[in-house]
């Protein structure tokens, strides 16, 4: 076996080990160590991704001496590879871009705890992406839940503590439902690894009497994971959670954590249930309706908010709605549009959440719209990057947001039938609403104000992550066809 196949294992073990290591280190050393490790991981996963592209197929990796139905296993294919690379890039940008705020927001004696949590979160994200075992998925979902509460609560404002408690209660409810679903599936199949489980489920699904139980199990898993990722009507925790966390945490939570849950859900649909069995269940149409509901509800709430971070958080709720709408449309076009949108949103939302605190910095530390007037003139860099990300969210061509909206439209045409008109209407209305609140914000930050002092250019800790994210954004926008082809091959290899 080629040595390069060990990379996921090494990355997970090293990240798990780095948690306790940062627990011992001082804050500054932990920070430097974190940046170095993230860069190493990015390099490693780039190599792995190139390797997977070259062989053009997925491989499984036995975790220990015992093969498939008895021992744990991880799997690396095109989808896992591309997602892991993107997640690590965004994670690096968030941690590096938010590091100056980490020092401001977090007490000196707790900075090393923050970086320890980041490493454990990296391990959890990677394990969730690569797992080929349902229960491993659950264990690392637990770690992800706890670490996300940790990086939220570390700011120690009354409001973040309250948000973290609410976030934790909802997330534990989601984890509980997910575990219940896993237990039901295990009782019916006697397996926990995805491949043998899928074979037994395929046999079971031939019997119409087993279908209701099976649907129930998948339904519970879907509800659990959609609560955790913030699908309408469970999106009300988002504004407080994303709005008041330290910027690095807000960016990680909105662009990575919620996406990891969706990716796991999609993996379960493809590799545990099997797309053919899944498409016989009524779950898809429910997802479609809730997705459209999320798009509209998120956009309307975003328009009504007077706080830029709360607006961005509500816009996240709408974007999560898009992703679930793609899953609900089904078919290769729908699934690939959903996965493409996961990538687009991860890149764009992290850029927004890292930029808004910079705009606030030159506006007396306030995130309220009326204080932000003219902030784009006072901090030119932040203004430009905010504009790029906001235009991408609205869906202006050559930026990534445009391509994903186009793909949703195409997926709806492909699916045809009853879904076509509501999806098209939702796309049209939400694009208009998006434009309304994002363009309004852009105009607001460029409207002249009596405060005219201009801030000098930012240091590399802001510019490098922003340039990286903008480059990713343009890449996804310009080469959307190639990326989509890649995702489709990945989905094909998946199930």
């Amino acid at each position: 076996m080629e040595f390069i196949r060990n990379i996921p294992l090494f990355a997970i073990i090293v990240s798990l080990f780095s948690g306790p290591l940062c627990f011992l280190l001082e804050g500054k050393a932990a920070k430097r160590y974190t940046f170095c490790l993230e860069l190493f991981l990015i390099a490693g996963f780039t190599a792995l991704f190139v390797y997977i592209l070259k062989t053009g197929e997925a491989f499984t990796y036995v975790m220990g001496e015992f093969p498939a139905p008895w021992g744990n296993e991880i799997r690396a294919g095109i989808l896992e590879g591309v997602m892991a690379l993107l997640f690590l890039l965004v994670l690096f940008c968030s941690v590096y871009g938010g590091s100056s705020f980490v020092e401001q927001d977090i007490d000196e004696s707790k900075v090393h705890l923050y970086y320890a949590l980041i490493h454990l979160m990296t391990a959890a994200l990677l394990s969730i992406l690569f797992t080929n075992d349902l229960f491993t998925g659950y264990v690392f979902v637990e770690i992800l839940t706890l670490t996300s509460c940790g990086i939220l609560i570390v700011r120690e404002l009354g409001r973040t503590t309250l948000a973290a408690v609410r976030y934790m209660i909802l997330n534990l409810l989601g984890s509980g439902l997910f575990l219940l679903g896993v237990v039901l599936l295990y009782t019916m199949t006697g397996h926990l690894l995805m491949v043998p489980m899928q074979q037994v489920i395929l046999e079971l699904s031939a019997d119409p009497a087993a279908m209701p139980t099976l649907t129930m199990a998948v339904g519970i898993i879907t509800i659990g994971l959609s609560i955790k990722s913030g699908l309408f009507p469970f999106h009300f925790w988002m504004p407080d959670t994303y709005g008041y966390a330290t910027p690095a945490s807000a960016s990680i939570l909105s662009s990575l954590v919620s996406k990891a849950y969706i990716f796991l859900l999609f993996k379960i649909y493809c590799r545990v249930i099997g797309i053919s069995v899944f498409e016989r269940m009524p779950i898809r149409s429910i997802l479609l309706v809730l997705g459209i509901g999320g798009i509209i509800a998120g956009s309307v709430s975003a328009i009504r908010s007077d706080h830029i971070n709360r607006m961005t958080a509500f816009s996240s709720a709408a974007q999560i709605g898009y992703i679930y709408m793609g899953l609900g449309l089904g078919g290769m076009a729908g699934y690939s549009a959903a996965l493409f949108h996961i990538m687009v949103h991860a890149v764009t939302k992290s850029q927004l959440f890292l930029t808004t605190p910079r705009l606030a910095e030159v506006s007396g530390g306030s995130l309220l719209f009326k204080e932000l007037q003219g902030s784009g003139r006072r901090d030119r860099d932040a203004g430009v990057f905010f504009t790029i990300a906001a235009l991408s969210m609205v869906g202006i061509p050559i930026l990534a947001g445009f391509s994903s909206k186009l793909q949703f439209g195409l997926a709806a045409v492909n699916a045809g039938g009853k879904a076509l008109i509501p999806v098209m209407l939702a796309l049209a209305v939400s694009s208009m609403l998006n434009a309304l609140y994002f363009i309004r914000t852009i105009i607001r930050i460029y409207t002249a104000d009596e405060r005219t002092e201009v801030r000098p250019h930012h240091g590399p800790d802001y510019l490098i992550p922003m340039l990286l994210l903008t480059a990713c954004n343009l890449f996804l926008g310009l080469f959307s066809r190639g990326v989509t082809e890649l995702i489709r091959t990945g989905i094909f290899l998946f199930g």
Partner: protein, 321 residues
């Protein structure tokens, strides 16, 4: 004059004094004052009426909320019961469901070298899950520390004063209590010894790192309660605790990483299985159990210490005071 009334309305604690102040103002005619008082009373009345309505609305909302909650819970219970009633009987209708379990039971002893099948399963067959699980505890410790550890911010908020006030109150200081001290003297050594036994015996009988570690942690909590944190800090300061946790988890990660690496690459891992039933048996299970046990014990004691005094071990924030 209406300005004054407005102010009275806003700070209605000093209501009477203010109104009598108004009465002393010489140029206010008596009629006008009467009128103002009347107006004032009616506005106060209106306000309390509005509050009453709001309370009633809140009450009816709460009632509705509770009713919806109860109905949806009942619905969920019904659906889940229906689902459970329809599950095919375990292992009877589909023999493939027993494939995994059968191998664990029949070949577990010779493949893992552990008499206790559960230990063999969680630490050998499905070791990756357990690797994650032991880090869940550590993550929980980190989260509780971020929340409860006293730092400059919380000390400025007065948390330390509260802590010292509570500490000076002998009612809460159980280490002055003769009964608890005596019981601690008797119980702590035996609890700790029992915990060690449970950990060391994990591969041969019921027990293992998680349960044994919990017992040791409980013993240590009793020790800290009976003899005070000053004594406990001499044994387990923050530095010692974090080093123990680090060494255990690092050992765990690398030992298992080594086994995963050799297993996946088809290499020999050179870990002797030992004779089943002896203490030194089951390959890596015993050392892993010890590592897990240490992490669990430290985590439990850490939780107790953080919740009780916002600190682990004596260090700068509390001893400096």
């Amino acid at each position: 004059m209406s300005d004054k009334l407005q102010r009275i309305l806003e700070g209605d604690v000093e209501l009477l004094e203010n109104v009598s102040d108004a009465a002393e103002v010489p140029d206010s005619p008596r009629e006008e004052l009467k009128q103002q008082r009347k107006e004032f009373v009616s506005r106060v009345y209106q306000r309390s009426e509005m509050e009453r309505i709001a309370r009633a609305e809140k009450k009816s909302f709460l009632l509705l909320y509770r009713m919806v909650a109860v109905v949806s819970c009942l619905l969920l219970i019904g659906v889940l019961l229906f689902t459970v009633a329809n599950i095919p009987r375990y292992g009877e209708e589909n023999p493939r469901t027993l494939e995994v379990v059968r191998r664990y039971v029949e070949q577990g002893l010779q493949e893992t070298g552990a008499l206790n099948i559960v230990s063999g399963m969680i630490l050998d067959y499905r070791a990756f899950d357990t690797l994650g699980e032991s880090h869940v505890l550590f993550t929980a410790l980190l989260c509780v520390m971020t929340l409860l550890l006293l730092d400059k911010k919380t000390i400025r908020g007065g948390a330390l004063d509260d802590y010292h006030r509570v500490r000076q109150d002998t009612y809460f200081d159980l280490s002055k209590d003769a009964v608890i001290r005596l019981l601690g003297t008797v119980l702590v050594p035996s609890i700790l010894l029992f915990g060690v036994y449970v950990i060391l015996n994990g591969q041969n009988g019921p027990g293992g790192g998680f349960s044994g570690g919990a017992i040791i942690g409980a013993g240590f909590i009793l020790f800290a309660t009976a003899f005070g944190f000053e004594q406990a800090d001499r044994v387990l300061s923050r530095k010692v605790l974090s080093r123990i946790v680090f060494c255990s988890l690092a050992f765990y990660s690398f030992a298992k990483g080594y086994v995963f690496f050799t297993g996946a690459n088809g290499l020999e891992n050179h870990i002797p299985k030992g004779t089943p039933g002896a203490i030194l048996s089951g390959g890596l299970i015993l050392p892993l159990d010890i590592a897990v046990g240490l992490v669990v014990a430290c985590t439990m004691y850490g939780f107790y210490s953080l919740f009780k005094r916002g600190n682990i071990g004596g260090d700068r924030t509390s001893s400096g005071q």
